[in-house]
């Protein structure tokens, strides 16, 4: 088999990104949309770490910051979800329409 190069890792990262975007665009359950966003962030992380192997350690430092930001965003997103669920008893994205005319 061909030896594993950086390009293989980049393809895997792109595939994970695509899966995450599909999840965000097509699912109705808010929790699963949030999890797809985590998938997207992980794909970006894989990309960063794959490139950092070529070009120095800055990629890994950046990916640590991305993980930190993902934690903060997941916490706030889930807090919003809980607050919304308390009012409307549903986790369907289509029903988040209180501001619609």
């Amino acid at each position: 088999m061909a030896p594993i190069t950086t390009f293989h890792y980049l393809v895997v990262a792109a595939a994970l990104f695509v899966l995450g975007v599909i999840g965000v665009l097509t699912r109705r359950n808010v929790v699963i949309v949030l999890m797809s966003i985590e998938l997207i962030l992980n794909a970006v992380n894989l990309n960063l770490v794959a490139f950092s192997r070529l070009w120095g350690l800055q990629g890994q430092v950046f990916s640590i910051f991305v993980i930190t930001d993902a934690a903060a965003e997941a916490a706030v997103g889930l807090g919003i979800l809980i607050a919304f669920f308390r009012n409307k008893e549903t986790v369907n994205v289509d029903e988040v329409d209180l501001l619609k005319w």
Binding site: P3, I4, T5, T6, F7, H8, Y9, L10, V12, A14, A15, L16, F17, V18, L19, V21, I22, G23, L25, T26, R27, R28, N29, V31, I32, L34, M35, S36, E38, N42, N45, V49, A50, S52, R53, L54, L57, Q58, Q60, V61, S63, I64, I67, T68, D69, A70, A71, A72, A74, A75, L78, G79, I82, F85, R86, T90, V91, N92, V93, D94
Partner: protein
């Protein structure tokens, strides 16, 4: 230390990661999606180890799989999802969404293929980052060049904590 069976482990781990990704976006039950996401995260930690980034792999396991996913599972259990399992899972524009996402993915790969860096990207690695002092080198970067970013990240976490507490309280 010589890496062992790199090709086999790469295909195994990336296969597990992609399988987990597919399961995340297709399962009806949110708990199953969360478990599939944990599988993806652990497979990615393995891939980071193969890329000679042990510290990032450790941080991924502790923070992502051991922290964020526990948070997700807590919230899934607090929110009653029984009713949502019987509803329609995919929304009306799933075809367009899937096509758009796949086109974006192909665009990404094309960017790499048509870039000038392609010979670098498909070259097999012979020079590796020394694994021995990865943590020390990251620490030198983190507390040296990127100290300001580090402080801002900790401020961000403080703000997120306060925000999450305020959001989830019953009475403010």
């Amino acid at each position: 230390m010589q890496p062992v069976a790199t090709t086999f482990f790469f295909y195994l781990l990336s296969g597990l990661a992609l399988l987990g990704g597919v399961l995340v976006i297709t399962r009806k039950n949110a708990v199953h999606s969360a478990l599939a996401l944990i599988l993806t995260l652990l497979a990615l930690a393995g891939l980071y180890l193969m890329l000679y980034a042990p510290f990032v792999a450790g941080v991924q396991i502790i923070l992502y799989a051991g922290g964020i996913m526990v948070l997700f599972l807590f919230v899934i259990m607090l929110v009653n999802l029984e009713r949502s399992q019987k509803e329609e899972q995919f929304n009306k524009q799933w075809v367009i969404g899937t096509v758009a996402a796949v086109v974006t993915g192909i665009l990404f790969v094309l960017v790499f293929v048509k870039s000038k860096e392609l010979p670098n990207l498909v070259r097999e690695h012979v020079a590796q980052l020394p694994e021995q002092s990865n943590t020390q080198q990251i620490a030198v970067f983190l507390y040296g060049n990127y100290m300001f970013t580090f402080e801002i990240a900790s401020l961000l976490l403080l703000v997120a904590m306060i925000g999450a507490v305020v959001m989830a309280k019953k009475r403010i």
